[in-house]
């Protein structure tokens, strides 16, 4: 993760994830607390926000699979599913993956080292690996 990214993490997160400002703010608060937090606890940190607004936003984040939740008495306690860096990395991976997926449908100007490999090719890779190892051994023995 670049240092520029760390400095602008909330903005970068918003820009990358398409999350709203309130969703980003609550997510940042949850990351700062590093433990499961109820709506009531968060309301203390966001004095201007109504209880229902926070609850709805947290529920939305939970449905987006960004939060985990468990029952805490009659309420839910929420905690982030992953760290900020992990989420940013996932988002970048997703975007890069999408772009590379698009390159399958048309010809993006790129030369990749290795292209499609399907599940059934694993055995072939094992065979090739064995060949490389055998060649390595041969060279090592030759040098001795």
């Amino acid at each position: 993760m670049s240092s520029q990214w760390r400095a602008n993490a909330p903005q970068a997160l918003r820009k990358r994830s398409g999350l709203g400002p309130l969703e980003t703010r609550l997510l940042e608060l949850l990351w700062a607390r590093a433990c499961a937090t109820t709506v009531r606890d968060l309301q203390g940190a966001c004095p201007g926000l109504a209880y229902n607004t926070i609850m709805t936003t947290l529920d939305r984040l939970y449905r987006k699979q960004l939060l985990l939740r468990r029952r805490d008495g009659r309420a839910f306690a929420y905690e982030p599913r992953c760290t900020r860096d992990e989420l940013l990395s996932e988002l970048v991976s997703g975007q890069v993956s999408e772009m590379l997926g698009a390159s399958q449908r048309s010809s993006v100007i790129l030369s990749t080292l290795v292209r499609a490999v399907c599940e059934t090719d694993a055995a072939l890779l094992d065979q090739l690996d064995a060949l490389v190892q055998a060649e390595r051994r041969k060279r090592r023995d030759g040098r001795k």
């Binding site: 890069v96 100007i109 694993a122």
Partner: protein, 312 residues
Amino acid sequence: MNPTLLLTLVLLATFGLVGVVLSGLLALLWRGGLRLRGATSLDLLGLRLLPSAGSLLIALTVALPAFLTYEPHREHEAAGPLLLALAAFATACLAHGLWRGWWACAAARSLLRHCLREAQPGVGSGAELHMVDVAEPLVALIGAWRPRIVASESVRAACNPEEFREVLAHEAAHCATRDNLRLLMLVAAPDVIAWTRLGARLTAGWRAAAEREADQRATGADPERRLALASALIKVARLVNRGDVSRPALGMSVAVDDVSGRVRGLLAPPARTARARLLPLLAACGLLLPLFAVPCHAVLHELLEQLVRFGR
């Protein structure tokens, strides 16, 4: 009709007609068993670009002088429907080629922008290297005009330093021969072959040959380097194959049998570098054609006149 407009239509129609004839000829040769086993990437590039480059050459160096020499300049002539149809077809081919080229460049730019936003500069050989921390096992040379090598940390982690150096040398070899610019030419070639499976096959063949040649150029005859690159190829292929990667992001037409061929090629003693045979032949024909066509200009002009008048 305005003589300049008529000349433009004649050139476009010639481009379209010759393009179709050359594409048909290429398809017939392919069907007849032309497979060019062991052909160099330059040969395949020449073959793939033959219809569009050949038709452009004939339009500009044969049809244009013939028309300018023998066409009475003051005469205003109406264009027939065949000329208009052929010119429209050629315009559609050119526009579609430009669109494909533009789209490919835009997609590469977008991918590069996504990667570079996240990238850390690294030490590469030959081209700018950018390291990205993404799950996809990405090692690629991206972009046609100013290509950059983008590699993911997962690849660096999977390879030992020697192997990773060879991976970068492989991409730098692509950069040195401007393979991405050649790929852009293949993608944007304005001909009917681009709409057929033959076009895709020739491009895939070119890609495979370009990869093999980049392997050879990167490692040379050094057996240790060849072994390191072979090992890196297998490791990267395994990463692409791994189940925890969300989708086959690097999936394109060249499959693992290509990796297999490349690994076996690297393990074998280095072969002598194959020289392009077809491309010099095509280039020589292209240079000589305008000269040999000079005595035929009058006949060619008559044929063009028939084309202009046809169906009028």
